[in-house]
Symmetry: D2
């Protein structure tokens, strides 16, 4: 990735993509939230029968398929944030800061039972 | 958002966050794919009983909650891509290019029945 | 549906189906929960671009596809409950009773904002 | 579970529950599909950080919570099938028959890579 792969650039590209196709009418937050969840479901289907180790050692072909599924999730996520006028980058920074307070490194170390978020 | 809100910067912040807490052991692709889907489910719950119009006009408090849910999705998505050694920004650019070919503006204009992707 | 379409009958059929294929090893609660979520994602993809009215008036071919997707959700749900030794029918009756207390008919009438559950 | 825990009985109970609260207006297939996916997301969140073994040995309190989440999935699933006029029990029997053809016991034995469905 480069300094040019900003969420801002993706947002603008998706905004233009939808406008050129007159798709804004379909891109309600409700519909985009459904599309986001649908794509997340496609991601999970790649991993459901794999062991933890297998999931970390995907055959190259499968890994390439997953890469495009993750891209789908990102594209819908950025588009959903845009139609809601949410600054996704700012929200992510804010959530990171909240998580740092919520899970102090010394308290959370190595304990999955102490957290349900990143 | 600024030019500094790159997926690369988020990836590095999350990598450090997990390392400081010794959470890499929990961050298998399988587990992170589940966390991603779980967060997408939380997003959808905000919209399930709303009309299309209501979803586009959220009360400010609800919109702020949704912003943090979208952030959660992004954080898990970036972290999942990282542990899979997938360049999420590159994959997104590739998917955008594929979609441009798949949905020519003149053919796809205004037709939801002609697509199932952005 | 008939009086014979019991969750119990489905549970037993799925138990035999997995045993005959030596699939119990794959049917951990974790894996089955992922499969359940993946199928729910397939259901949602059928509706994401439809209006409320369109969703209530599916073309027959689409409705037949959705029927099999709902069946997939049910099969994984029943199987997941079984491997967790959860009595799904009893849990459903209990949840119905809880919802009746949680959403008194006179208080909840016509108000989506007063509930997030059935 | 007993012979009385039929999908038919649940369907009727949910139909009455919605009617008494004037909730039919909210129970469009689109909305119920979202609610179903949202509940599936809640199920998955219970398992995302657990190992396969941990997921098969839930503490009793956690197992009781999961039971009610599975009930939520079933209730929305049965209600969604009803508003779509889909016979869920019949669809499940049909899907079981299709899976028996799709995954012959002798060919599918012990192979997760040969299937993506029950």
């Amino acid at each position: 990735m480069s300094e040019h792969d900003t969420l801002l650039a993706l947002r603008d590209a998706l905004r233009a993509f939808a406008a050129e196709r007159d798709w804004e009418r379909f891109h309600t937050p409700k519909n985009l939230a459904m599309a986001l969840a649908g794509e997340a479901g496609e991601v999970i289907e790649h991993f459901q029968w794999l062991s933890a180790d297998e999931s970390a050692n995907l055959p190259e072909e499968r890994r390439a398929e997953v890469a495009l599924e993750l891209a789908d999730v990102l594209l819908y996520l950025v588009r959903l944030a845009d139609v809601l006028d949410i600054d996704l980058g700012e929200a992510a920074q804010r959530k990171l800061a909240l998580n740092a307070v919520r899970y102090p490194a010394d308290k959370a170390r190595g304990r999955s039972d102490k957290y349900d978020k990143l």
